[in-house]
């Protein structure tokens, strides 16, 4: 069949283009716009090219925040993935009220608004009235004051994050486990496989799809985390729990340095995009031995 060339066809794509422009391109271009200009006030601005980008990339505050961010995301993935899979493995397998109850209990942290999570942990960790804070400070006898001790602030933030998001990994892994046909377990019993072999050669490979999603979601979310640590520590003590987004907000709203913040946003966006792509590609290869 011969293809008909008719440039009027482009008009048919116009509504989609307009929609994408308003929900993605225009807001993003505003940021790009700020990032290449020096804005003095509403009427005075000058084009500065890539100056803000150069400045931001050299900024030690940004580099430190980026380092903290990587450490945080790595810790989060290392804790939440094994823990989530572990929880999924011990959750009841048969349907019924026990399964439903477990699911609700496990999913509970996911249903709480993020700033409320921060508030819950602020209270939970107070040495005077908080259950955990009081337990550590009085029962264990360890002086606990996370707002002033950086290591305790870190442990608190990571703990809160794991409490909040491990349930997501657990539910995804549980869904993956439930999708494995019984015949696989029966065949493994017939083949005399140990519990570890069943996990290693049946359950883990069959969960690859959902765990890929879990890694991507947890990486992106933890890399973009803002609300909970902001409520819990406000980025402190000092800058010790100032992650990228907290730093960005300080820069853009606290210091009103929109040029730097614009350049920062674009860099931030590109890092997340690039890393997600790398994770996705890597996980596609795991288990299949070759790229699809």
């Amino acid at each position: 069949m011969r293809k008909t060339l008719d440039n009027r066809a482009w008009f048919l794509v116009l509504p989609v283009f307009a929609l994408v422009a308003f929900n993605a391109i225009i807001p993003l271009m505003t940021v790009v716009n700020y990032s290449v200009q020096d804005v003095f006030d509403a009427t005075h601005r000058s084009f500065v090219g890539a100056d803000w980008y150069r400045a931001m990339l050299r900024s030690s505050r940004l580099q430190n925040a980026l380092g903290r961010q990587f450490l945080f995301s790595a810790l989060v993935l290392l804790i939440e993935l094994p823990l989530g899979v572990g929880i999924a493995l011990v959750m009841p397998k048969k349907g019924g009220w026990a399964t439903s109850l477990t699911m609700v209990l496990v999913a509970l942290p996911l249903l709480i608004p993020w700033n409320v999570i921060g508030t819950i942990w602020v209270v939970f960790l107070r040495p005077d009235i908080g259950l955990l804070g009081h337990f550590i400070d009085h029962t264990l006898g360890i002086h606990f004051d996370y707002p002033t001790v950086p290591s305790q602030a870190w442990i608190s933030v990571v703990l809160m994050e794991a409490w909040h998001w491990t349930p997501l990994v657990a539910l995804l892994a549980y869904a993956g486990l439930r999708a494995i046909p019984d015949a696989y377990y029966q065949a493994a019993r017939i083949d005399g496989a140990s519990g570890w072999a069943v996990f290693r050669y049946i359950e883990l490979p069959k969960m690859r799809g959902v765990l890929t999603i879990a890694v991507l979601l947890r990486f992106m979310d933890s890399f973009l985390i803002y609300t909970e640590p902001f409520v819990l520590t406000g980025g402190g003590p000092g800058d010790s729990t100032t992650f990228l987004s907290i730093y960005l907000v300080k820069l853009a709203i606290g210091e009103f340095d929109v040029g730097s913040a614009g350049a920062f946003s674009i860099i931030y966006f590109l890092i997340v995009l690039a890393l997600s792509y790398v994770f996705y590609q890597a996980l596609q290869r795991v288990g299949t031995g070759e790229a699809k």
């Binding site: 046909p181 015949a183 696989y184 029966q186 065949a187 019993r189 017939i190 083949d191 005399g192 496989a193 140990s194 072999a197 050669y201 049946i202 490979p205 069959k206 288990g287 299949t288 031995g289």
Partner: protein, 361 residues
């Protein structure tokens, strides 16, 4: 290899079965001889898979004892029973190569690596998988995957029996035939006890030396394919096996024969004798293959009306109305018969009587 024996084995998925209909598998005595090729044949829900899982130990029966070569294995796990099982859908370990898949049951049992190599090599050759040994098992076609499942059973030299749960469901028709041939070859070579579950009678009758026909959790007949065809022990077997199934006509005793809607049909004296003492509804059964349907009257022929003749290429099926009942006859392709008046002959040799579902012999 082993002789498998059921002593009053029954299974129910209910926690406390009371009525017979609670049982997926009715308590019964059955046995499978060492080295036999058996088929378990029955419609969906007849208890085939339950029976298979009870043998393999995946399901522990609610009642009775299972013996392998005379020793009680009822409480033993699947691995301890040395059973291999091939499932309806191919089960392979996705991340392993074909070699590792075949070696898996051996390595789990702590077999030393040189022996693993030789045994896997042998089985791969037998199943024509040698070229694929280094490939990842997940990339193979369904028939190759099913061969791997089978191979995982064959590598174990001490396996008591290999069980098949409708293993050819997902295989292309032309490959089905090849795989079935392969199974027969393996059976002849190793003299293994094979038990094969299927709802496809052609598959059961070509594969097995002996067929166990199941209906509603009960083994209604155990016999050779010829037995099932010529002497169905139960009306269910007559109806289920054969295409079309056996003609089953309610009848009553009448002198030296039986009577159907006023037509007298002669029956062998021995069967008639049994029928006099039997209780339950009396039914006459005859295979369409043995009913003669002709265009003219002869001795012992009954006047009927041929309502339809289907020409199926290598044979014809005539449907005739005898009184209020329809009788099917399977005729040669060359038979000249047309709808209209016709005459039926019921040869006494092939005219069976059933009382309460069971054959009178």
């Amino acid at each position: 290899m082993a002789r498998i024996e059921f002593q009053g084995v029954g299974h129910s998925y209910e926690p406390s079965p009371a009525a017979p209909e609670d049982y997926a598998l009715q308590p019964s005595d059955l046995h499978w001889d060492d080295g036999g090729a058996y088929a378990l044949l029955g419609p969906s829900g007849s208890g085939k898979t339950t029976l298979l899982n009870v043998i393999s130990g995946l399901v522990r029966p609610s009642k009775g004892r299972i013996l392998f070569d005379g020793s009680d294995v009822t409480g033993l796990s699947t691995a301890q029973r040395n059973i291999a099982q091939v499932f309806q859908f191919p089960v392979i370990y996705d991340t392993m190569t074909v070699f590792d898949n075949l070696a898996f049951p051996l390595r789990n049992r702590g077999v030393r690596e040189p022996e693993v190599q030789t045994r896997v090599g042998k089985v791969a050759e037998l199943l024509e998988l040698t070229d694929d040994l280094k490939r990842r098992a997940s990339g193979l076609a369904a028939d190759a995957k099913q061969k791997i499942s089978l191979g995982r059973g064959l590598v174990r030299s001490d396996v008591a029996a290999i069980l098949f749960d409708e293993p050819l469901t997902v295989i292309d028709p032309h490959l089905k035939w090849l795989l079935r041939l392969k199974l027969k070859q393996i059976h002849q070579e190793f003299k293994l006890t094979l038990i094969y579950v299927t709802h496809d009678q052609a598959e059961a009758l070509t594969f097995a030396d002996r067929v166990v026909v199941l209906s509603e959790g009960r083994a209604v007949q155990v016999g050779s394919p010829t037995d099932l065809f010529e002497r169905p022990a139960h009306t269910f077997v007559g109806h289920f096996i054969g295409s079309p199934g056996m003609n089953l006509l309610p009848c009553e005793l009448d002198g030296d024969g039986v009577r159907i809607d006023g037509f007298s049909i002669p029956v062998a004296p021995a069967r008639l004798e049994r029928a006099r003492g039997a209780s339950g509804e009396l039914i006459l059964g005859i295979r369409p293959e043995f009913v003669r349907c002709q265009a003219h009257a002869s001795a012992d022929s009954l006047a009927a009306e041929v309502t339809a003749v289907e020409d199926l290429g290598n044979y014809k099926i005539a449907t005739a109305r005898l009184g209020r009942h329809l009788v099917k006859a399977k005729l040669k392709a060359s038979a000249s018969i047309a709808p209209g008046p016709g005459w039926l002959v019921f040869p006494p040799k092939w005219t069976l009587l059933y009382a309460g579902g069971s054959v009178l012999e």
